[in-house]
């Protein structure tokens, strides 16, 4: 699968990423998948560490999004960490802004800023704000934190690409709880009306929102049918199978005349046993003991 079309566009200039771009033959396929898995693990270690250091923040929804971000930043997207504002870059928009630590970890690993800066999360004067701030952090495309606005924003970015005749793509990551917001469906309707095929949405379907299970708080199912009814091409994947996520994102490029949504089935808190499916860790950072245990599990 990944062998048939090497990532011609990918221009990530890091050694690790260049190694990924050269992966073409199927014999090398296990290698790049393993590489991505290692990257994902590092992101998870960064996330729990920076959150413990900050003393507040959202581990659950950050950890569930890690493999999606890994697929995007280290395999799929055309971007250049040395030129965060490169006009032809693919855009990633984090609509679920509380997963900022996951994005910061990916950006740091990709080379947008030193990994050491991650410990500045949520501190006074830090470029790493509690929720993403496009004016503060290199590589952050949108200021978010109030849910429901990212898909609309991404639609605006995708419309600009169309007007300018540019071929960059826009990827928007939404939470599943976020789909409670009416604006998500305004944007969904508009994107299919405008036949936008340069935008893909990914729903981090971890089934938990702050107050509990999404099925108990506000039923979303049948979620895929809702997106399809709104005119979107819909794919469903295991959001922790990075190879499957890459494959779905590649498939989204081939869909013409309509936008694509990938519903990524994930586990909130993925990778840390006591955080998995534990709503307590939606918005609570680990203490020192919990951090030690988490890092042990992620070694």
């Amino acid at each position: 699968m990944p062998g048939k079309d090497p990532l011609l566009h990918s221009s990530v200039s890091l050694p690790e990423a260049s190694a990924i771009t050269s992966a073409g033959a199927s014999s090398a396929s296990r290698e790049w998948v393993q590489g991505l898995s290692q990257t994902a693990k590092r992101l998870r270690r960064h996330i729990v560490t920076m959150l413990a250091e900050a003393g507040s923040g959202h581990p659950g929804g950050s950890l569930s999004a890690v493999d999606i971000l890994t697929a995007l930043y280290f395999r799929i997207m055309r971007h250049n960490p040395r030129q965060p504002r490169w006009p032809d870059r693919d855009r990633f928009i984090l609509s679920k802004g509380h997963a900022a630590p996951a994005l910061y970890a990916a950006l740091a690993e990709a080379g947008y800023f030193p990994v050491e800066e991650l410990r500045m999360l949520r501190r006074l004067g830090s470029p790493l704000q509690g929720h993403t701030d496009m004016t503060a952090t290199p590589g952050v495309e949108m200021s978010s934190g109030s849910l429901g606005q990212g898909l609309s924003f991404g639609l605006g970015v995708a419309l600009a690409a169309r007007l300018d005749g540019k071929d960059y793509r826009v990827y928007v990551l939404l939470g599943d709880g976020e789909c409670d917001e009416g604006q998500v469906w305004e944007a969904t309707m508009a994107a299919s009306h405008l036949r936008m095929d340069n935008i893909a949405a990914i729903v981090d379907r971890n089934q938990l929102q702050l107050d509990g299970w999404t099925r108990d708080i506000m039923s979303l199912e049948p979620l895929a049918e809702k997106w399809r009814a709104f005119g979107w091409h819909c794919l469903e994947v295991d959001g922790h199978d990075v190879e499957a996520v890459v494959s779905a994102l590649e498939a989204s490029r081939q869909v013409k005349g309509k936008p694509t949504v990938i519903i990524a089935h994930t586990i909130k808190g993925k990778g840390v046993s006591f955080m998995e499916n534990n709503v307590d860790f939606h918005g609570r950072s680990p203490n020192a003991q919990e951090l030690a245990k988490a890092l042990e599990e992620l070694s």
Binding site: D133, T135, Q149, S152, G154, V157, A160, A161, Q183
Partner: protein, 317 residues
Amino acid sequence: MSAAAGIKSIREAYGKALVQLGQINPNVVVLDADLSKSTMTRIFAQEFPKRFFDMGLAEQNLMSVAAGLAASGKIPFASTFAVFATGRAFDQLRVSIAQPGLNVKIVATHGGITVGEDGASHHAIEDLALACALPGFTVIVPADAPEAEQAVVMAAQTSGPFYIRLARPSTSVIHGPGYRFHLGQAEELRSGGDATIIALGLMVVPALEAAVSLEAEGIRCRVLNMATLKPLDTEAVVRAARETGAIVTAEEHLQHGGLGSAVAQATAQACPVPMGFVAIRDVYTKSGKAEELLRSRGLTARDIAGAVRAVVARKGR
């Protein structure tokens, strides 16, 4: 002050200004929320269909899409009625536009109560308070068609978020062809040393009328058109306070959070003087003809004149 040189539609001036901008700058794009026939963005849509996006009845989406366009180098003008632009999409103005300081121009029509018959839901009487509350926003309320046109062009040429409020009714033209709108500067329409009337939007004409009638009584008023509400020309306000010793503000908006509040804050810090506020009290208005509503809410030249007499009487007490 030049006498009224006819009546002109402020909204039509907006639509025409957009076409002008569209011709000189390919990055100008326009968005609407199913009101393009009323906001007059339709004039632009007909000329530049590929750069016009009707987002349907979805104001939240409208504003965040505009933000995404601005983040990608476009100069989006987003239009709908003032009640919806601020009330329906306030969080989008705040998080998608104001916090990142994006270059979105919101031009909201049907400001104030002169929407008239449509009733309370359509009367934008809180919009200036909401727009002024957003850090980094420039807020403009033009008084007539020529000023609206120039303010729109100025907004396109100036980086950062703008909220421009336009009135529904056609209004008397007070600016001649040579008029130049200066962003952030009060325009002195009439000189006088006994009191100052500071007005914006549709209240500028009644302010001038009040000044004329007061002159017959021996009260000479300075009249300032404060088209740029934010950032406020505090220098002009303080000068008016020092030189005339009394101020009356006039606005088609609630008494709190708009022009009166801003002027009072400026004078309180630098030169407190007796002040009067011609504005809507803490109440919603019902359906009626625009003229009737203005009368019922005390927003006429007579009301302004009365307020001036009252502040002049308080001077030096």
